[in-house]
């Protein structure tokens, strides 16, 4: 590990890092714009200038851009040197000559990298007396708001959108002081990953349009660590709530899953939490009087805890799978494969693989972040290719200029055109006649990944995945599953639904919308769900439960990684967890999630490593619970005074080490409990650079 000296202090840095990355990782206040940990350096904004010294006796040095300078052993730099300092202040002043007077009405205000950097360099008065340049905005569709006046031309947006996400409809137009980032004409952005522009843009050019109509500042949002519910990948998200409504979802860094990015489905697909057609909460619920045979139908979108509670209530013999019959068959096959080959590929493995074989999955539709990981993989391959020419992997523009020849990485079997087609080296049809052509490449690859899934409902494709795996023992398997907790539900060994035909008199349907024909023979249906559905409308008794944003539970993603999501908020009219409803129905004694999980781990030892590692309700840091609200959270004494003048005590959360309060622990914490990034001087998402990038979650072996 090389040591460099910054302002005469030694710092250990990662080999191959640039000076800027090293400095911000150590929490030093060095301003920058165009660099991003996932995009590398462009050296375009000139903001990260530092003084580079020849040796210890050199006091004058020469100015270098820290993002374009390798941190080599013993090299000496200064951030606080007056020359570099005044240079950086001048750069900011130039950038601000055309920046509009918008901060109060800008959605980025309060979490703006440009604001932070301006304060950091000390610029506070516009000395430039001339008129400001203006631009017309474009309508970029329902998700992204465009305000081009605020642009500082760091080029991060097009570098992300085109080079990483593979979008083609965002460009840089015009020249000199008129550079414009947008589309050829108004219209929604094509890419499924356009939402990341909100976080990539260091200022307010691209902001979240869905958040705009019901806006709140960052410090007013109550956040908690959560898991995306929209597909089986289990990306880490940080939803924000204010006044009882979920306002927005932001990315939560997880090194092995989503990294720095989210797909649009995950970022914008959370509005159902605020829907009006919620199933009514029934309170109190007495113990169920059992008459005849009672069966339970589990759910791949309910938590492990809820599914376990249902299984416990109805008994293992009467616990059925909420997947369809076909899905159940495919999933059983996948589980059988994974019990022999438990080495599944995470998204980070896909990003680092030297060959990816996709069997019948249209990834941009079924698991979008997997598609982005493949695009990031090719981006990395370009870095490696340029590396052979002596170009460091962070030097983005040099890599692009070198135009290294890309190795053949992506192999796809699918019958319809998919969005990944332009990247595919070899595409075959799903009858797999010409799969022989893949075998030399598979055998030659060092760390290939084989992706298959349930979306086409084809068992031969899944069988082929294991055939390929047998040919290449170094390969890792990756299966795209139907829903967020499909893996977890299968671990509870439910029976396939068709087996329930003409069985039982009463069914409890947990968070699921089933075809009514499946249930037609039953006398009583008890449905537990958050939103109304055909099943809840036709049920004898419909019991309302809370959505993922107001409950705490665990899920197992497609690689078998068990993770816990924590409730972000409680409504004024609280909605109970599904497992609490089932507890009351079954007259169990669990008071909180720990008590349930203790029993759960005993019955299913497979979950024990996870339940041991997860932070239980007794976990405290410095004797405190972790605060969900920021120390600047406002309006406590007036938020609800239209309802009652008497301020309520903060709600208690019996199921997590987090508190619904601004009081509690705010500092460094384990990555699975951290839901917002902040450190002094860094209010934007860029604060993540200096935080712990440790992994979280426990991989289970079926």
């Amino acid at each position: 590990m090389p040591t460099i000296f910054i302002d005469n202090k030694p710092y250990n840095v990662q080999p191959g890092q640039n000076v800027l990355h090293a400095a911000v990782s150590h929490g030093l206040n060095l301003p920058y714009f165009c660099w991003h940990p996932a995009l590398g350096s462009a050296g375009a904004c000139r903001q990260c200038a530092v003084q580079h010294f020849k040796d210890e006796s050199d006091t004058q040095g020469r100015m270098v851009m820290s993002c374009m300078t390798a941190a080599t052993e013993g090299s000496r730099f200064s951030i606080n040197h007056p020359t570099a300092k005044s240079f950086r202040a001048d750069i900011i002043e130039w950038m601000m000559t055309n920046h509009p007077h918008d901060c109060p009405v800008c959605d980025e205000g309060g979490e703006c990298h440009l604001q932070d950097m301006t304060v950091m360099t000390g610029h506070n008065k516009r000395r430039y007396r001339f008129k400001k340049r203006t631009f017309e905005n474009q309508d970029l569709g329902p998700h992204i708001n465009h305000e081009m006046n605020r642009c500082i031309t760091c080029y991060r947006c097009v570098r992300y959108y085109r080079d990483v996400a593979g979008g083609e409809d965002l460009h840089a137009f015009s020249a000199s002081n008129k550079v414009y980032f947008g589309r050829f004409e108004d219209g929604p952005l094509d890419s499924e990953f356009s939402g990341n522009l909100v976080e990539v843009c260091p200022t307010g050019v691209f902001t979240d349009k869905t958040f705009r109509a019901y806006y709140s500042r960052k410090w007013d949002l109550q956040t908690a660590p959560s898991i995306c519910q929209n597909c089986s990948l289990g990306c880490n998200i940080s939803p924000g709530e204010r006044l009882g409504t979920l306002r927005r979802v932001q990315n939560r860094f997880h090194p092995e899953i989503n990294g720095y990015f989210l797909c649009d489905k995950g970022r914008f697909g959370h509005r159902f939490v605020n829907e009006k057609n919620q199933v009514k909460v029934v309170h109190p619920i007495g113990p169920l009087i059992k008459e005849g045979l009672m069966i339970g139908i589990g759910s791949p979108r309910a938590s492990l805890e809820a599914n376990y509670a249902l299984r416990k209530l109805v008994g293992a013999d009467n616990f059925y799978d909420g997947h369809t019959e076909l899905e159940h068959r495919l999933l059983s096959k996948i589980m059988e494969i994974l019990s022999q080959h438990p080495e599944t590929a995470s998204l980070e493995d896909v990003r680092n693989a030297d060959a990816v074989f996709i069997l019948g999955e249209d990834l941009t539709q079924t698991a979008p972040m997997l598609a982005l990981s493949i695009r990031q993989n090719l981006y990395k391959r370009a870095q490696d290719g340029a590396g052979t020419q002596g170009i460091p992997d962070w030097n983005d523009l040099a890599i692009r200029n070198a135009q290294p020849e890309l190795p053949k990485v992506v192999y796809l079997a699918h019958d319809i055109p998919t969005k990944l087609d332009p990247l595919v080296t070899h595409k075959i049809s799903t009858d797999l006649e010409s799969i022989q052509d893949w075998i030399p490449a598979l055998k030659a690859a060092k760390n290939p990944v084989i992706i298959a899934g349930t979306s086409l409902g084809s068992e031969p494709l899944i069988r082929m995945s294991i055939e390929l795996r047998k040919m290449a023992p170094q390969a890792k398997l990756c299966y795209v599953l139907p829903a967020a907790n499909s893996f977890g539900l299968m671990l509870l060994k439910p029976k396939s639904t068709p087996l329930l035909t003409h069985r039982g008199e009463t069914a409890i349907v947990l968070e699921n919308n089933l075809p009514l024909s499946t249930l037609s023979h039953l006398h009583n249906i008890i449905a537990i769900d958050f939103l109304e559905s055909e099943t809840t409308k036709n049920a004898t008794l419909a019991l309302g439960c809370g959505s993922f944003a107001e409950t705490t539970g665990s899920m197992v993603n497609n690689e078998g990684r068990a993770q816990r999501y924590y409730s972000v908020f409680e409504r004024r009219e609280q909605r109970p967890e599904s497992w609490r409803i089932l507890r009351d129905l079954g007259d169990f004694s669990w008071q909180n999630i720990d008590e349930l999980c203790a029993e759960f781990a005993q019955e299913f030892p497979i979950f024990e490593p996870f339940l041991k590692q997860v932070h239980n309700t007794q976990f405290r840091i410095d004797g405190q619970k972790i605060a969900r609200q920021s120390p600047e959270f406002s309006g406590r004494t007036s938020m609800y005074t239209n309802i009652s003048l008497h301020e309520q005590a903060p709600l208690q959360d019996p199921d997590s080490p987090l508190a619904y309060s601004m009081e509690g622990y705010h500092g460094d914490m384990p990555p699975d409990l951290a839901s917002s990034y902040w450190r002094p001087g860094w209010n934007s998402v860029s604060a993540f650079n200096s935080l712990s990038h440790a992994t979280s979650g426990v991989k289970l072996k079926p």
């Binding site: 109060p104 009405v105 203006t134 017309e136 305000e147 006046n149 406002s634 309006g635």
Partner: protein, 171 residues
């Protein structure tokens, strides 16, 4: 002895001074316009709401008695949908006025706010919003900001050039 007489004389003299005490409430005291009393929301010289719902007043408030919810009209002009001040908590420190970037929120010399019911101390937007510009007659935030709103297109704000023609080849 002399000093005692001096003191007595001073007290005696004061008996003939004009009294400072005002016969409130029959007689009202004279207060400076800078006096920090009841909080109002003002309008800009065009008669439109000044508040842009930036949340700075609520975040700076030491007793957290201000809460609001931003929304915007069809032209993109942002304004508070609700704006509430709980005057039973307010300490009249004036930090909200100091933080306000648009001079919308202002403190006035009115201090006669006593109520029999505490609920009546909670002022909603309709109780706060007045029809004039208050202490700062000239300022109009949207005339300075780069955001385009109804009646003001891009490039029409103060000190702005007309929007760039991207198809022009001129430098």
């Amino acid at each position: 002895m002399v000093s005692i007489l001096k003191g007595l004389w001073l007290v005696f003299k004061h008996a003939f001074n004009k009294p400072v005490t005002v016969q409130y409430p029959e007689e009202k005291p004279k207060l400076s316009p800078r006096y920090r009393g009841r909080i109002i929301l003002t309008r800009d010289p065009d008669g439109a709401e000044r508040c842009v719902a930036c949340y700075l007043c609520s975040s700076v408030c030491p007793v957290e008695c201000i809460s609001l919810q931003a929304t915007e009209d069809e032209t993109g002009r942002r304004y508070p949908k609700t704006f509430r001040i709980n005057f039973s908590r307010c300490i009249y420190c004036g930090l909200c006025e100091e933080a306000c970037p648009t001079t919308a929120i202002q403190l006035t010399p009115d201090f006669e706010m006593a109520e029999y019911r505490r609920e009546n101390m909670v002022y909603e937007k309709e109780h706060l919003l007045i029809s004039g510009p208050g202490k700062y007659p000239g300022y109009n935030f949207y005339k300075v900001a780069g955001l385009s709103i109804g009646g003001k297109a891009k490039g029409e704000a103060l000190n702005e050039n007309p929007p760039v023609d991207l198809r022009s080849l001129m430098p």
